[in-house]
Symmetry: C2
Subunit: 303 residues, 2 copies
């Protein structure tokens, strides 16, 4: 990780982690009787990871306002939705993964039923957070709920995941149609939530339409870059550094940027996306240094 | 079904069905590429069923206002959440049911992966509906989002389902602790969404706190009655009339009112809940005739 990003993450991530911990350990009615459900929710949220989406929300908010801790409930909502999607993606009926971030996946620890329910509960909790915990006028809250539902639902992340599953076994061809499919897949599967988390920060700070569309595009670009880097890592990375089974995408015959274009063209594509991302941030000046460092980091993962 | 209820359902249900059909067939971006996802969502929503929750929303709204079609998006949101919960409950890792409402369950038709995603997408779509489609001030919409999240999440339906799974195999005992557990289980698993759908109607019509708490209690009582009737049906009903495998609860060693108290005490309990429900509606006069007919219907199912 580059030093500049580390400075930002050291400021934001501990507070995000703390917020998430307090949230899930809150002594609410259901905790004791359904303790394993709460444990399963907590296990995956607590697994850490990059906290990419909540950091994006905070960074976008900070383009316009300084009191960034106000963005924590919104940031946390995006992290909860991301976490639920990982739990469901890892299930035997989906990607059937045993490891996630170097630890056994949720269903390997709590069983499939509890893993399904933990995902369902995290998704629901994200919307409760927006409705109950965000300090903002109700018109802004409604906008945030709408944005999260769009990013996470059938026209966003879940739709992308469905296309991903439906495309399995089609990773051997090399047609323009597949390249188009792959872009749409990732625009939905990863891009929608990344753009959504940025837009949520802008919306909370009541940013204008021009900043909104600039950050939406930036989100699409880094989302795609993130996925290309992921595909490259899956091909060449080491199991320890990635914390998941290597080559598992290829085994499943999945459509990836590497399977479609080969390794060197995928790397070229990644560099191109990097330039595009930085170009989009240029007019935002110094305030966008955090987002800049993050764009750099996504590309550096390719090692 | 009693004649009085039929009059109400004939007015409401076709409009609810039409609203749901238009919603899922809307030509949105994601529909073509992820067609099987949309098919899977539509398959279960279209399976009909009683539409109990949306009807409750409309009936509660109508206690206060006449333009009941304004309640359709809110009513539909509760039906989508109910439908997603059935899809996930039927999965092999959960109840492992092959039949639902007389048709093959979602995962038997579309596969487990698509069934999991269809459930996730329906839950997300419910919140999008509230944020984007309800004609009401943003303060009311935020209240509706909060109410749905509470009814559906870890302190409501999902929490109840978790307790249900965790209690499997414990259906043979007969202690006071189990009786208490069973009530809490159903207050969450079924009661929370039934009360929630009633409260959503009240909140949309801006009803006062006293009506709110009266209907919350009514919801708890008929929710429990519904479950007691379900347990009795599972013990004595005929496969055709229920549309699901008979005795499947007993096979799983599930804690039910029948396994705990025996058939005749369960019937007595059902009659008691019926009286309680009608008592709660008394001060509401003629306007509550729909809810009255519904309370009668829930008890009549015991045949």
């Amino acid at each position: 990780m580059n030093e500049q990003l580390k400075v930002f993450l050291d400021e934001y991530v501990p507070r995000i982690d703390l917020y998430l911990k307090k949230l899930l350990f809150a002594d609410r009615v259901g905790v004791r009787l359904a303790a394993p459900l709460n444990d399963a929710m907590h296990y995956s949220v607590d697994a850490g990871g990059k906290r990419l989406r909540p950091v994006l929300t905070v960074m976008a908010y900070r383009l316009l306002a300084d009191d960034w801790q106000r963005a924590l409930p919104v940031a946390a909502a995006y992290e909860l939705v991301h976490t639920y999607s990982l739990i469901h993606d890892d299930l035997p009926a989906m990607d059937d993964d045993d490891l996630r971030r170097g630890r056994p996946t949720n269903h390997r620890v709590f069983g499939e039923a509890m893993a399904i329910l933990a995902g369902d509960a995290l998704l629901t909790e994200a919307f409760r957070l927006l409705a109950d915990e965000v300090e903002a006028g109700p018109d802004i809250v409604v906008k945030l709920v709408s944005g999260l539902a769009l990013a996470a639902g059938r026209d966003g992340m879940v739709g992308g995941q469905a296309i991903d599953i439906l495309s399995q076994g089609s990773g051997q061809g090399k047609t323009g149609k597949q390249s188009e499919l792959l872009k749409i897949l990732h625009r939905r599967k990863t891009g929608a939530m990344i753009s959504g988390s940025l837009l949520a920060g802008v919306d909370l700070a009541q940013g204008d339409a021009s900043l909104r569309s600039r950050l939406a595009e930036f989100g699409e670009v880094i989302g795609l870059a993130f996925q290309v880097a992921d595909d490259i890592l899956d091909e060449v990375g080491e199991e320890e550094s990635l914390g998941k089974d290597i080559g598992s995408d290829r085994e499943l015959g999945k459509l990836t940027f590497v399977s479609l274009f080969g390794l060197s063209k995928a790397r070229f594509k990644l560099a191109e996306l990097h330039r595009q991302a930085l170009y989009l941030l240029e007019p935002l000046g110094e305030k966008a240094d955090g987002l800049r460092a993050l764009a750099d980091y996504i590309v550096e993962r390719d090692r």
